[in-house]
Symmetry: C2
DNA sequence: TTTGAAAGGAACTAAGG
DNA sequence: CCTTAGTTCCTTTCAAA
């Protein structure tokens, strides 16, 4: 994980569809060298995935919600987590310090679906309570850091 | 935005680096047709970006925080937003219903940096108060919906 | 909008410094 | 860990339906 690796990561955070040839030009290496480095970044888990970022409304997710979860004192955190994993509406899941053990980001099509999701969450064993905030708009999401210029 | 477009979007949400040829195989069209469709999805804003999803710790972001922002009654929301936009630590920004106008997701290297970010946020004109929760771990993030099988 | 053809590039592998 | 070289495959454009 040297400076070139970091540049590659930031370049791919900015545009995951850059070709190896283009990445190679930007960092000043040959394409096979970049291919090798990116392969190692993927294999070591530094790069987890490449995803298209989509306007949620365009694919029928008009409603974005952030949901804080308080756990039962008796519950098993792993079971709660597994239950969340089964709910595809939950796009992101953070384990938090504080009273609320989890913070979830969920996307659904309608307020009615959000209601059903919240009911399901409150019924999940190990969940004591939920607190939901509704996002009126997403200003930006998963913005990369500005890439450090590779050399000089 | 027909069923094929939706399949293309979900396929690219799952793996943004799929080749046009591979996408074409999966949806049963020719590569040029897919090229054309994806180009239109990009141009129309349905696909906003292609991003590598990176293990934050690997690129020096050991600390993830979720920060709620209460605005001054007198402040201009656009100015506040613009100030947030200038802070690269703020990876995501949602405009919320409720007392807190914004919910921010920030990533920084250290708790000390988080402290500095919070001070900066509290000093930003238009910001009345902040409320910060610290994520101990990211269980998952930006998970795609399971893709609908293209045909049958 | 789609397909097929065709040129130009890129990916991937292998061999060598 | 890098480069050069070569083969295969993909991207991209265009004409035509």
């Amino acid at each position: 994980m040297d400076a070139i690796d970091r540049s590659l990561v930031e370049l791919l955070r900015g545009n995951a569809r850059l070709s190896y040839a283009e990445l190679a030009r930007q960092v000043g290496l040959s394409a096979p060298a970049v291919h090798e480095r990116v392969g190692k970044l993927e294999a070591s888990g530094v790069i987890r995935a490449y995803r298209a970022e989509v306007e949620p409304e365009a694919i029928g997710f008009a409603v974005t919600a952030l949901i804080g979860i308080v756990e039962d004192s008796g519950g098993d955190t792993d079971d709660v987590l597994e239950a969340f994993r089964q709910m595809p509406e939950i796009e992101s899941c953070y384990f938090m310090a504080g009273v609320e053990s989890f913070m979830l980001k969920a996307r659904v099509g309608t307020i009615a679906e959000l209601e059903r999701l919240i009911v399901r969450l409150n019924r999940t064993p190990g969940v004591a309570s939920t607190r939901t905030g509704i996002a009126l708009s997403t200003k930006w999401e998963n913005r990369p850091q500005p890439p450090v210029p590779p050399e000089a």
